[in-house]
C-alpha cells in the first residue's frame, strides 16, 4: 500500500569524500549478498556482489566488506561523485534458486 512518508536513513557526503553504507542481516544461512543502486524513477541496478566465503571484494571505486561474525555488510564508495546520489539496497540470497531478500535502503546524497 501507499506509505505515509520516507523512512530511509540518509547519508550526506561531500563530493570527493568516501562513503560507507552499512547493512545488517539476520539469517546466518545467507550465502550470497548483492548491493544495488536505485536512482529516482528507475529500477535497482547491480553494483557488486560477494559470497559468504569471502570477506572483501573490490570493484571500480566500490568495495564490499562482509563480517559474518556480526552479520554485517558494508559498501564503500571511493571519491563519491554527484552521480552516486541514489538509494542503495543490500540484498541476500539463501541457498540456491530463490529470490533475493532486500533490506531497507539508505539514501546517499552527494553535495558539491
Amino acid at each position: 500500500g501507499e506509505s505515509v512518508g520516507l523512512h530511509l536513513p540518509t547519508l550526506s557526503v561531500q563530493e570527493g569524500d568516501n562513503s560507507i553504507i552499512n547493512c545488517a542481516y539476520s539469517n546466518s544461512a545467507s550465502d550470497y549478498f548483492i548491493w544495488y543502486k536505485q536512482e529516482s524513477g528507475k529500477g535497482p541496478q547491480f553494483i557488486i556482489d560477494i559470497r559468504s566465503n569471502m570477506d572483501k571484494r573490490q570493484g571500480q571505486r566500490v568495495t564490499v566488506l562482509l563480517n559474518k561474525t556480526v552479520k554485517h555488510l558494508s559498501l564503500q564508495i571511493a571519491a563519491t561523485q554527484p552521480g552516486d546520489s541514489a538509494v542503495y539496497f543490500c540484498a541476500e540470497n539463501i541457498g540456491s534458486g530463490y529470490a533475493l531478500n532486500f533490506g531497507k535502503g539508505t539514501s546517499l546524497l552527494v553535495t558539491p
Binding site: 512518508g5 523512512h7 529500477g43
Partner: protein, 114 residues
C-alpha cells in the same frame, strides 16, 4: 542497458478497474520475479516463476495474479484495483541454473489507484 521492459511506466486508474502490468525480457532467463516497492521503502517479493507454467507467491501477500505462458513474458494482473494497491511494481529476471542469483530489474510500473 537492461533487456527487461515494463509497461506502462505510469498508470492512474479508478477503483474497481482491472489492470495488467506487462513485463518482458529478451535475455532468455528462466526465472522472473515481481517485487512491490512503496516510495522510499524496501522491495517485497510478491510473485516469482522458475519457468513456463510455473508461478509461486512471494513473501508479501498480494491480491494480484501472474501467468507465465512464454519464457519472455510475465504479466501481473489486478482484477479489481483499490487505493491500497497504489505502489511501484518492479519486474526482474535472473539467469538460469542454480547458485548466485543476480537479478536484472526493469524500470518499474508506478500504479496509482484513485
Amino acid at each position: 542497458e537492461a533487456d527487461i521492459y515494463q509497461t506502462p511506466r505510469y498508470l492512474v486508474i479508478g477503483t474497481g478497474k482491472k489492470i495488467t502490468l506487462e513485463c518482458s525480457q529478451t535475455m532468455g532467463h528462466d526465472k522472473m520475479y515481481w517485487y512491490q516497492q512503496d516510495p522510499g521503502m524496501e522491495l517485497h517479493l510478491i510473485h516469482y516463476s522458475y519457468g513456463v507454467n510455473s508461478t509461486e507467491k512471494g513473501d508479501l501477500s498480494s491480491e494480484s495474479t501472474v501467468s507465465r505462458i512464454r519464457t519472455e513474458h510475465f504479466p501481473l494482473t489486478l482484477e479489481s484495483a483499490r487505493p491500497s494497491h497504489t505502489s511501484q511494481y518492479l519486474c526482474a529476471s535472473s539467469e538460469p541454473g542454480t547458485g548466485a542469483n543476480v537479478l536484472t530489474f526493469g524500470a518499474g510500473s508506478r500504479l496509482t489507484v484513485l
